[in-house]
């Protein structure tokens, strides 16, 4: 039996208050850490930068050009939220998530605090659960930051007007706001699988940078595999395959059946990565 296993507390399970207490302190720790605040500020800068660039160039020849929804921002500030999320989706969001979720366990191991955390009476399962929840909260906060800053920037620079859907139909600004919030919620949900992959990698190494880089690599490799038509058989299972499906919220009738595959794939990744992380973390030697 490893020394780590004997370190697993043998006291009676604590009440729910223990989880809440631990969750509260972990949330304060993660959201209070200067590096993580800078990450959120960096993401908040994206919609502002994007908005200002579009605002300056809107009357020039290049104004209406650009991929996806960028060309539509000048007409309606609501689209700035979508355009900013679209811009952050391939790399900046995975990077942010990788840094925070990759740090979850490995960061504690690196600074030597993990051993003291698990020797005080906190069961490993509970610690892992709390770390995962905090990482998920941070991912949601990252998406929310982009959405709120995007909404305010779009409103200030371009105003908010009735939303033109992909089908060419127009809906009221109020209904449009709900659509845009749906986009943000879907993007946040789409990150859950990657968060759990980050937590899993974080349990495999004591070097936080390795787990962070690994998480970003998983997202990038997934996107590369998704772009190869020869691999179409495995595309529906890829972490990133349905990320772009947030566009469903901009169609005439939002079909829940069209959103389900993306959410189910994320659930499957959360389940698999989560259980593997649990098995690894509860059986690993923890010496530092």
């Amino acid at each position: 039996m490893s020394p780590a296993e004997t370190a697993t507390p043998t006291t009676a399970p604590r009440t729910g208050g223990g989880v809440r207490h631990l969750l509260g302190s972990e949330l304060r720790l993660v959201f209070g850490r200067r590096r993580n605040v800078v990450l959120l500020l960096g993401l908040a800068a994206v919609p502002i930068l994007l908005g200002v660039v579009i605002f300056i160039t809107q009357d020039t020849v290049v104004g209406s050009q650009g991929p996806g929804f960028i060309g539509r921002v000048a007409g309606n500030g609501l689209f700035l939220v979508v355009a900013a999320l679209f811009t952050c989706l391939p790399f900046l969001l995975p990077l942010t998530i990788g840094i925070v979720s990759g740090d979850a366990i490995a960061g504690e191991a690196a600074t030597g605090t993990l051993r003291s955390l698990i020797t005080v009476p906190v069961p490993r399962t509970r610690l892992l659960l709390v770390k995962a929840i905090v990482a998920l909260c941070f991912a949601a906060a990252a998406v929310l930051t982009i959405a709120i800053v995007g909404l305010i920037t779009g409103w200030v620079l371009f105003g908010i007007s009735d939303l033109v859907l992909l089908s060419g139909d127009t809906i009221t600004a109020g209904a449009g706001l709900f659509r845009v919030l749906g986009v943000a919620a879907y993007v946040a949900m789409s990150m859950s699988g990657l968060v759990m992959v980050g937590v899993l990698l974080s349990t495999l190494t004591e070097t936080p940078v390795a787990a962070m880089a690994g998480t970003v690599t998983v997202a990038v490799v997934s996107a590369v595999l998704d772009s190869l038509p020869q691999l179409s058989a495995i595309h529906p299972g890829l972490l990133t395959h349905y990320w772009i499906d947030f566009a469903e919220f901009l169609r005439l009738e939002v079909d829940p059946a069209a959103l389900a595959p993306g959410l189910l794939v994320q659930a499957a990744w959360v389940l698999l990565a989560g259980t593997i992380a649990w098995s690894r973390f509860t059986t690993a030697d923890i010496s530092s």
């Binding site: 697993t8 043998t10 996806g68 929804f69 060309g71 539509r72 007409g75 679209f86 009735d162 033109v164 992909l166 089908s167 060419g168 139909d169 127009t170 038509p229 772009i244 566009a247 901009l250 169609r251 005439l252 009738e253 079909d255 059946a257 069209a258 189910l264 499957a268 389940l271 698999l272 989560g274 259980t275 593997i276 649990w278 098995s279 509860t282 059986t283």
Partner: protein, 404 residues
């Protein structure tokens, strides 16, 4: 110490293994469940079924259609560059959404990953909208055609807007001349889009066509076509060359908002006035436009159109398109007309700044033969001769070359 706290390492690693099995089960589960539910519709002979389909009132419905083409054309990945564009229908899988009230109003949307190409029919008017270039094309009838439309009240075909393929349309074409040139059998009942369905198999009674067989699944209650599969002679049994079918369908009248359309603010609007030749006037019209000549009948029929302004077509010139559009209909060649329409609608969809160089695409898709250039797919052959004639048919290329 309780047993749950002292699970062996091996037992702990069993948890992700169980999770993996659960995920795999969830992936494989739905088809297994569907197979357990055998449809039990009353028996029907081919003749009874064909009659029922012909006499059925079109039912209002909405649903999702998946269109898969394996025509052997090198067009893979095009939609990823251009967004939702009808040319994507020529290869690979496309998803469409269909809403129809069963009569004159309908909306069909071709879905791209973050784009959409919609065709809305509302009585005598039609619109197309492409979210990629934000262009609306509004089709209306000219005064004479409008008057005839109002007299006729119904039964008139709406104006010549591009059509996106739906199972109904494909089935209609396949069944048009079915009794004369084909043998029809009823296959065992199937479940399509969650509906109990009859399956008809149509086999051409000739070897001179590229079409091996057509399979149509119709809803057991409303006789709405749910799925059409077309096998070409070069296909294996499992993968039809063309497959268009509902993956889910709801029989209810769609919202009024879905079936109407008004151009969004800021979009470029192109007005197209369509004149439908009336029955009396069709004689005159034929003096201006050489009517397309049809050689052969049924599945083997070949359409020959003279004086094709190919350069105009490739440039998206409306006049050249109007000429080419006069080639309709193409009896017996179900997928032929569809394909032709896809070509037409592609060129039409590219108003404004062209997203795709049509001429380059033409070079890419066709190959040179002594008679001109040939477009060869698994279901349809097109020969464009050097002297400006266009030969189209669901026949081998050699047959067209002999005719040219």
């Amino acid at each position: 110490m309780s047993t749950t706290r002292t699970l062996s390492h091996r037992a702990r690693w069993a948890v992700p293994a169980v999770a993996a099995v659960v995920v795999a089960g969830a992936l494989a589960g739905p088809p297994l469940l569907a197979a357990a539910d055998e449809p039990a519709l009353p028996e029907a002979t081919p003749v009874e079924l064909l009659t029922s389909i012909a006499e059925a009132e079109p039912a209002a419905h909405s649903g999702t259609v998946v269109h898969t083409a394996r025509l052997g054309l090198p067009t893979g990945g095009l939609t990823e560059i251009t967004g939702a564009d009808p040319i994507g229908l020529l290869g690979g899988s496309s998803t469409l959404r269909v809403w129809t009230d069963g009569a004159e109003r309908s909306r069909v949307s071709l879905l791209g990953s973050a784009s959409e190409y919609s065709v809305v029919h509302d009585g005598p008017q039609a619109w197309t909208y492409s979210s990629t270039d934000d262009v609306v094309t509004h089709y209306t009838l000219d005064a004479a055609a409008q008057a005839r439309y109002e007299d006729a009240q119904e039964g008139q075909t709406p104006p010549g807007a591009p059509e996106l393929p739906t199972p109904e349309e494909a089935a209609q074409q396949a069944l048009e001349h079915v009794e004369e040139f084909s043998s029809v059998t009823v296959l065992e009942q199937a479940t399509v889009a969650g509906r109990d369905a009859y399956q008809l198999q149509i086999t051409p009674e000739t070897d001179g066509t590229l079409v091996e067989q057509v399979r149509i699944a119709v809803d057991g209650e409303t006789f709405t076509p749910l799925q059409v599969q077309v096998w070409s002679t070069s296909d294996t049994a499992e993968t039809p060359a063309l497959e268009v079918g509902y993956t889910d369908i709801t029989f209810a009248t769609p919202d009024d908002a879905v079936l109407s359309f008004s151009a969004p603010a800021g979009a470029e609007v192109v007005e197209e006035t369509v004149s439908l030749p009336s029955e009396e006037a069709s004689g005159e019209a034929s003096a201006e436009h050489t009517p397309p000549e049809t050689i052969g009948e049924g599945w083997e029929s070949v359409i020959i159109i003279d004086d094709v302004d190919l350069q105009g077509l490739l440039a998206g010139d409306p006049e050249a398109l109007a000429d080419a559009a006069a080639s309709h209909p193409m009896p017996g060649s179900d997928s032929g007309q569809e394909l032709m329409e896809e070509f037409m609608s592609d060129s039409e969809g590219n108003h404004g700044p062209p997203s795709l160089d049509a001429a380059a695409l033409y070079e890419q898709l066709t190959t040179e033969v002594p008679e001109g250039r040939v477009l060869s797919t698994t279901l349809l052959s097109v020969l464009i001769t050097d002297d400006g004639r266009l030969l189209i048919g669901s026949v081998p290329v050699e047959t067209l070359q002999e005719m040219a």
